[in-house]
């Protein structure tokens, strides 16, 4: 059952993200559930899992939403790797630490995507700073809440 937990979480993240994006596209800027799954597994399983899962999730998200295949995959795999490495080196178990990790990882993902698009000669979308910050704050808050719930479930 625990082996199925990861794929189920990922599937659920995609299902919720996609169905909400069809119904309320404006609200989707506030969270990125598949990215939260990548961060969660990077924090608990280390950089290699974060890297692999980030690449796979990023490719799927690129296929659905991105204009250039690989941009999201690269940013998510790098962020998955860095998150996994950071958690191995520092104690990041409290809610505030989690909030910082998820917020930083979300911000890094977005900035890395914009940077990669610019390097590849594509015009990056003019993402308003307010939407960027709202996305970082929303994802950090939601991630902290969901990670605490999952942590409690693991403890039980």
């Amino acid at each position: 059952m625990s082996r199925l937990k990861g794929p189920m979480l990922l599937l659920l993240a995609f299902v919720v993200q996609l169905s909400l994006s069809a119904a309320w596209p404006a609200w989707v800027v506030f969270f990125d559930l598949p990215l939260l799954v990548v961060i969660y597994y990077a924090m608990h399983r280390g950089p290699a899992v974060g890297l692999a899962l980030g690449g796979a999730v990023g490719l799927l998200q690129d296929g659905l939403t991105g204009s250039l295949l690989g941009v999201g995959a690269l940013s998510r795999s790098v962020v998955g790797y860095l998150t996994g490495t950071a958690v191995m080196r520092f104690v990041l178990s409290g809610p505030l630490a989690r909030l910082l990790v998820v917020g930083s990882a979300t911000l890094a993902t977005r900035l890395f995507e914009i940077f990669t698009l610019a390097v590849m000669g594509r015009t990056p979308s003019a993402l308003p700073a307010s939407e960027l910050l709202a996305g970082v704050a929303g994802n950090a808050l939601l991630g902290t809440i969901l990670f605490s719930m999952l942590q409690r479930e693991r403890a039980v």
Binding site: L11, F14, V15, L18, S19, S21, A22, P25, A26, V28, V29, G46, P47, A48, L51, A52, G55, L59, L60, D62, G63, L64, T65, G66, S67, L68, L69, G70, V71, A73, L74, S77, V78, Y81, G84, T85, R110, E113, I114, T116, L117, M120, G121, R122, T123, P124, S125, A126, L127, P128, E131
Partner: protein, 280 residues
């Protein structure tokens, strides 16, 4: 020492993954979009997306059955029909104006309806970095990459990649999208491009051309993608231009991209050149 080599493995893996992904992106820039790869990803996610859509439809049908309201499937069908008729009305209206001007020169033109397929939006990433949406029709309904997508308000975008049951639409607001347009009032032509935010930019309009705020822009059909005469947007600001002798013009799209629901995919662009060739 053993610990160090173990820690180094993800670093090597990261390098390999990064190089592979950079090569993938460089390949797309060099040889164009990898439509087949994107189609394969869409095919992989197709069961998830269609499953969500089916679950939502069943729930709505159930609620409708219990409350005695109209069947959501019937409502959806009627909405698509309204969209199809509205698009046809807009196109014929512009064609009527055009015919009035050109009848003396070209003679009567045939008005051919454009075959279309109605589709519903499954997911919409209008606020993401790439402005796209996914619709519930694909190659099994005769759709192909490049076909134009519209709704009752105007032009929505074009198909980027297609799988059997679903397709990805590049929205007009995407930074890499473009459409050939003309000003309905002054007939000035230009290219309307996305900026990645909520407004569009009209390019290649000289400082001598007459474009004013509130002018309606229509597709000109010259790009070979969108049929002629569909509304695209309204001029919001028209600057006088700088050293490059081109005016800086911003346009607000007619379509509300935050509220996309029922769309029409036009199965061919019905270019005016074809009709001119057919005319006596």
């Amino acid at each position: 020492m053993k610990q160090q080599s173990h820690e180094g493995r993800p670093g090597i893996l990261l390098t390999v993954v990064a190089v592979a992904l950079l090569a993938l992106m460089a390949g797309q820039i060099r040889f164009g979009p990898w439509v087949r790869t994107e189609g394969a990803i869409l095919r992989l996610l197709s069961p998830v997306l269609t499953g969500i859509d089916t679950a939502i439809r069943w729930s709505a049908e159930g609620i409708g059955y219990v409350t005695g309201g109209a069947s959501p499937a019937r409502v959806r069908e009627l909405e698509r029909e309204v969209a199809r008729l509205e698009v046809e009305r807009q196109r014929l209206e512009e064609q009527g104006l055009e015919n009035g001007r050109l009848r003396a020169l070209l003679g009567l033109r045939q008005s051919l309806p454009i075959p279309s397929v109605g589709a519903s939006v499954l997911s919409n990433s209008v606020r993401g970095l790439g402005k796209t949406c996914i619709i519930d029709r694909g190659s099994s309904s005769g759709l192909e990459p490049g076909m134009s997508v519209v709704n009752t308000q105007g032009v929505v975008g074009r198909l980027l990649s297609v799988a059997p049951g679903i397709s990805k639409v590049q929205l007009l607001t995407d930074a890499s999208s473009g459409v050939a347009v003309l000003d309905q009032r002054s007939r000035v032509q230009g290219v309307l491009t996305g900026r990645g935010d909520r407004v569009l930019e009209l390019r290649y309009v000289s400082t001598l051309d007459d474009v004013r705020p509130m002018d309606l822009l229509l597709t000109s059909g010259l790009d070979g993608i969108y049929p002629r005469g569909l509304p695209v947007g309204v001029v919001a600001e028209a600057g006088q231009g700088g050293a490059d002798l081109q005016r800086s013009i911003t346009v607000v799209p007619r379509v509300e991209f935050d509220r996309l629901e029922e769309l029409l995919v036009l199965l061919r662009s019905d270019l005016p050149l074809d009709r001119e060739e057919a005319a006596p």
